[in-house]
Symmetry: C2
Subunit: 229 residues, 2 copies
Amino acid sequence: MSSPALHSAVLDALGRSITSGDVAPGTPLTLEAIGAEHGVSRTVAREVMRLLEGLGLVRSRRRVGIVVLPMESWNVLDPRVIRWRLEGPGRDRQLRTLTELRHAVEPLAAAGAARHASPETRDELVDLATKMRVLGEHGDLTEFLALDIRMHELVLRSSGNELFGALAGVVAAVLSGRTHLGLMPASPVPEALDQHEEVARAVAAGDPAAAEAAMAAIVGEVRRALTED
Amino acid sequence: MSSPALHSAVLDALGRSITSGDVAPGTPLTLEAIGAEHGVSRTVAREVMRLLEGLGLVRSRRRVGIVVLPMESWNVLDPRVIRWRLEGPGRDRQLRTLTELRHAVEPLAAAGAARHASPETRDELVDLATKMRVLGEHGDLTEFLALDIRMHELVLRSSGNELFGALAGVVAAVLSGRTHLGLMPASPVPEALDQHEEVARAVAAGDPAAAEAAMAAIVGEVRRALTED
DNA sequence: GACAGGCCATTGGTGACACCAATGACTTGC
DNA sequence: GCAAGTCATTGGTGTCACCAATGGCCTGTC
């Protein structure tokens, strides 16, 4: 708590209480109050406030103080905001919207990976898919999860589009959140294993269309399972 | 620029020089140097540094100073980072990756809008599309651009997914960047007008599949025009 | 030559200050 | 009684001086 943490602790606390709706939009804060509340000097309260302002959670105006902004102006794509929302009462909605974002992005990312991935990445993908089958059939969920995350991260990062790559972290959060929330079957369904193998095969073979289709199948099923519209 | 701007001016300057590659990754900075460079106190230099750290552009460590990070750790989805990159030498790449992101997201957003948009939004979309046809055929590019931006923003914001909505700003930047860079035909092609009308019609009719297809046609053509792979 | 220990540059954190803009109450005049 | 202008108060903005902590680097010893 002492060394690399004073700001982040206060920032996390404030960020969480805003994104959770605990402190309502329009609520005025003051640096004085923030400092006193968290036992911290005005200077660090100011720095925290700047960060929050950068995330679009608050807006600072002279004389009036720091006002909490409504969700429309939040930087909802920022990893910190996503994390806070995943930890708060908005978790379900956040999980749904993130899954929809995955549905949009991951197929294209897979197509990109089929075009741009390095030979080593292609090898690793194939390797991961076969390991996933082994672990999946033995039912070791946490090991399986690690491979799953690694695979999606690899695809996103090697898609040739850094904007896709920037989503690797939050996809990892979604995947791990899903299994820890018990939204996954006790043992991965065979179709999922097939599809992951197909993605790896298509990327390795440099077949963008097949990679895109296989990835679309993966996230399409996930989405269908999560959101019964 | 005058009153509410001291640290944001410095932030912009630093952010631009880092994202442009002007100061290379690994370069060490000190608060002292930043402050002196921009004629600003150490305190505001610290606040700027925190912001940059929050964007993943730098990492601050004791004794060693502030080191510039490589692009992999940037928050490339943050609007400020996107803006800086659009203004710098990375503009072409940024335009390409943003367009690819639009290609991924906007069709799904249109489908979402067909499900969730308010009656007023549906009306406004239809209205916008017809106005776009009129203006498009008369060739008023700047007026046309405003309507185009408004239409894409409406679709994204009413998609029922705030993560999509958060992209409205950068899509506007891409659209306006494209016309100002002369990447657009002098007069909008009739197909584009048809497709925009079709998106509006499908959303108004609550037909997600049709809305998705029409929007995919729009961004698909744009993408094909921009990136001859 | 490797390891241990200390030095010190540089960030982390605090408190106090002057400054200024916005606000809302207060005053003034009609 | 009401409207318009005035002005003190409030709270962010920016600066400064100071001390604490830490970790890279140098030095010295074995």
